[in-house]
């Protein structure tokens, strides 16, 4: 291996002939580079960790709310079906009354969790809350308004976070 010092000025050995000496200054230089490299790795990792901590804290705080939204979202189709059952039930039947009561209970549970339904014909279509699944003509409503609701939307009233977007048909312009 060539141990010749590559930088005469920086070489700190005592040899008179700095060009041909074999003091291994290059080795020292290599070690120094390695040390600087390790330092850099460390700083990057330290920075990553700091950022990770900050972000994890925020994520943790948000986690409960997100879990609730996800769980409620999975149960919503059941509420949808209950509403369909209500619509299909015979007038004045005991079963209809019963289903009505079930739905009232469902509504009250959701309300207690600060969740409310939204989406009704006649409202202005707003992509922040609604998903358009089709366009249609309408005598009753104007262009850009919701013609009918295929599936109600649900959102948190506390922070306006949408749990499920409403699926709607929109009146064509």
């Amino acid at each position: 291996m060539n141990n010749k010092c590559s930088n005469e000025e920086k070489c700190n050995c005592e040899c008179e002939d700095k060009v041909n000496c074999e003091c291994g200054c290059e080795e020292q230089a290599e070690q120094k580079t390695e040390a600087v490299g390790s330092d850099d790795k460390f700083l990057r990792l330290a920075a990553d960790f700091e950022n990770f901590k900050k972000r994890t804290k925020v994520e943790k705080e948000a986690l409960y709310g997100l879990s609730v939204c996800e769980t409620v979202g999975k149960l919503l189709p059941i509420f949808d079906d209950l509403e369909r059952a209500l619509a299909a039930a015979d007038e004045d039947s005991a079963v209809k009354k019963g289903v009505e009561q079930v739905l009232i209970k469902a509504d009250s549970v959701l309300k207690s969790m600060n969740i409310e339904a939204f989406g009704a014909p006649g409202e202005e279509f707003d992509a922040n809350y609604h998903e358009a699944v089709m366009q249609t003509a309408s005598d009753e409503y104007k262009g850009g308004q919701i013609a009918s609701v295929f599936q109600k939307g649900y959102k948190m009233t506390t922070n306006d976070k949408v749990i499920r977007y409403a699926k709607v048909s929109v009146v064509a312009e």
């Binding site: 790795k41 990057r44 960790f49 950022n51 900050k54 079906d81 992509a127």
Partner: protein, 608 residues
């Protein structure tokens, strides 16, 4: 230090990832989703929308909504919206801008550089257009890499020996297959093929048709004519497809799907995987045609392919994986989320360019727990297994007997609660502890493991600062099998061991109670009459006798009895304390306190 992000700019969906602590992390967008639809739209009032919100209004606003712009990249085709002409680069830049903003929100710092992926078959013009889109979005595109290459990076294939890899990418609406030759960090594309109008939606369609047909057979109603019903069918079909990737059958349950003169109608159909495969067999075969073509173009036979990597959501479909397995006669690789692996690969490339070392801190872990033996032969863990090292942890112990002047630190490794069942790593003594009543001295035991797995154990008497220590090498030198065996053994004997440990603890507690009672009575001296002391002494003697045997239940019962007897004179003792607050011997003696005994005992948990 700003980070370079990795972006998968897809036809239907895009995804962004970044290296963090040596690992690629997919960044969720502002809405919380890990992929963002590659859709751009302008409202009537000129307001710009990108992503999910743009997709939601697409049907109402087809003239101002742009989808699949990737198909036009590199061409001179412009999109005219409200009098303004947009080039494909400009539209793509809007998607990139959103991804950039989401990344900045996640990282908490500005992002100015990126690596973006493109299909392997993209021409120079198409690649340049992609780079331009980045520039318009305010990103310095450090590199454009091929999507199959990114997938290979995500799977770590580049770190292995030279091999021929097929990347099978069945995504939202397009299918791409590429054959790569990977070796020495060089990725050579041997051939590509595909079908850019074939994707997951086609599979959904088959299920919809099947459900509608079955329903019609039974009820005479065609659900496809009912818009509401059709919408529910679409959702149910996609859900069923996804479920069938993990289960052998699924039930499509849609009550009140429609109604006729006879009343409401319900759809309740069970779809099994075999039926689904039958319904989609031609689609799967349609993907195998480009696969064979790519092989032919590369001049390879199935046995020449070393690996198949799966990319794209629809590659999750079992029939697809089965067809590939049959063709290549090997199991396709699917360890990484197929919707995200291209972005992950881009992030890895970004990390390499940015100087982040991947797999950086080859952090080792201590494979088995480390600790010391405490009173009664119990193993007290100080460092849990799988703790990332370097690590340092301390705990304070104390003496078990009055006037104990030395403690033995017996260092062990293992998972069993009793010291004798674990492996001894070393022992040493700490002498010169000044004589004192038991549980008074504070001995701090520190375990310090360096990055090489060398363990230094220190014991320091906090009163005198006298310290002893030993160095143990090779504590991490265990084979995977040895570690698994130790853990399995601990699980196997868990019930027994718990019982044994409990028995020891009951013993220790008994000792403790005897000690406290005797001490209290001695301290009170003449202030207690012989009649008062007698019952307590009798219980003490009984318990001492019982402790000679092994009957844990008896020990427990006798300890209880002693405590009960002691309570009778406790009142008097506490009353005395009130009168003589300065009497150190009467200070706070609680015979019911559980101090866990000790050759030395655990007094405090001092986390470093």
């Amino acid at each position: 230090m700003s980070k370079i992000i990795g972006i998968d700019l897809g036809t239907t969906n895009s995804c962004v990832a970044v290296m963090e602590g040596g690992e690629p992390v997919v960044i969720a967008n502002a809405e919380g989703a890990r992929t963002t639809p590659s859709v751009v739209a302008f409202s009537k009032t000129g307001e710009r929308m990108v992503g999910q919100v743009a997709k939601r209004q697409a049907i109402t606003n087809p003239d101002r909504t742009v989808i699949s712009i990737k198909r036009d990249m590199g061409s001179s085709r412009k999109v005219a919206i409200d009098g303004t002409d947009y080039t494909p680069e400009m539209i793509s830049s809007m998607v990139l801008q959103k991804l950039k903003a989401d990344a900045e929100a996640y990282l908490g710092e500005k992002v100015t550089e990126a690596v973006i992926t493109v299909p392997a078959y993209f021409s120079d013009a198409q690649r340049q257009a992609t780079k331009n889109a980045g520039t318009i979005a305010g990103l310095d595109v450090k590199r454009i890499i091929n999507e199959p290459t990114a997938a290979a990076l995500a799977y770590g294939v580049d770190k292995e020996t030279e091999q021929k890899v097929m990347v099978y990418d069945l995504g939202g609406g397009t299918f791409d297959v590429s054959i790569l030759d990977i070796g020495d960090g060089v990725f050579e594309v041997l051939s590509t093929s595909g079908n850019n109008r074939l994707g997951g939606d086609d599979f959904d369609e088959r299920i919809i048709n099947y459900l509608a047909a079955e329903f019609k057979k039974e009820n005479g109603i065609d659900l496809k004519n009912d818009k509401m019903a059709l919408q529910r069918l679409k959702e149910a079909a996609e859900k069923a497809k996804i479920e069938l990737s993990g289960m052998m059958s699924t039930n499509v349950n849609l009550p009140f799907i429609t109604a006729d003169a006879t009343g409401p109608k319900h759809l309740d159909i069970t779809l099994n995987r075999a039926k689904f495969n039958e319904l989609t067999a031609d689609l799967v075969e349609a993907t195998m045609i480009p696969v064979r073509k790519a092989m032919d173009d590369a001049g390879l036979r199935p046995e020449n392919i070393d690996k198949v990597l799966l990319v794209g959501g629809s590659s999750r479909i079992p029939a697809v994986q089965e067809a590939l397995r049959k063709f290549i006669d090997k199991e396709p690789h699917k360890g990484i989320n197929p919707d995200e692996c291209v972005a992950v690969g881009a992030a890895i490339q970004a990390g390499i360019l940015g100087g982040d070392v991947t797999g950086l801190v080859l952090l080792d872990v201590t494979p088995l727990s480390l600790g010391v033996e405490t009173y009664g032969g119990v193993f007290t863990k100080i460092i849990d297994r799988n703790t990332t090292i370097p690590a340092k942890k301390s705990q304070i112990f104390t003496t078990a007997a009055d006037n104990q002047t030395s403690v033995e630190v017996h260092v062990l490794q293992g998972e069993r609660p009793m010291a004798a069942d674990n492996k001894t790593l070393g022992r040493f003594n700490l002498d010169g502890i000044p004589p004192a009543p038991k549980q008074v001295p504070q001995i701090e035991v520190t375990f310090d493991i360096d990055a090489n797995g060398i363990v230094n154990v220190y014991a320091k008497d906090k009163g005198t600062n006298k310290e002893q220590h030993i160095t143990i090498t090779a504590s991490t030198n265990m084979s995977k099998e040895e570690v698994e065996a130790a853990v399995a053994e601990a699980e196997k004997y868990a019930a027994e061991d718990t019982k044994r440990k409990e028995a020891v603890e009951i013993r220790n507690n008994a000792d403790q109670v005897i000690y406290q009672c005797e001490k209290s009575m001695n301290d009170m001296g003449d202030k207690l009459s012989a009649d008062e002391k007698a019952p307590v002494q009798a219980q003490i003697d009984k318990l001492k006798e019982t402790l000679k045997g092994d009957n844990t239940d008896a020990i427990k019962a006798d300890t209880e009895a002693l405590q009960q007897a002691f309570y009778k004179i406790a009142e008097k003792i506490y009353a005395q304390t009130q009168q003589n607050p300065g009497d150190p011997n009467a200070a706070g003696v609680d015979p019911t306190a559980d101090n866990g005994g000790a050759d030395y005992t655990v007094v405090d948990d001092d986390n470093n």
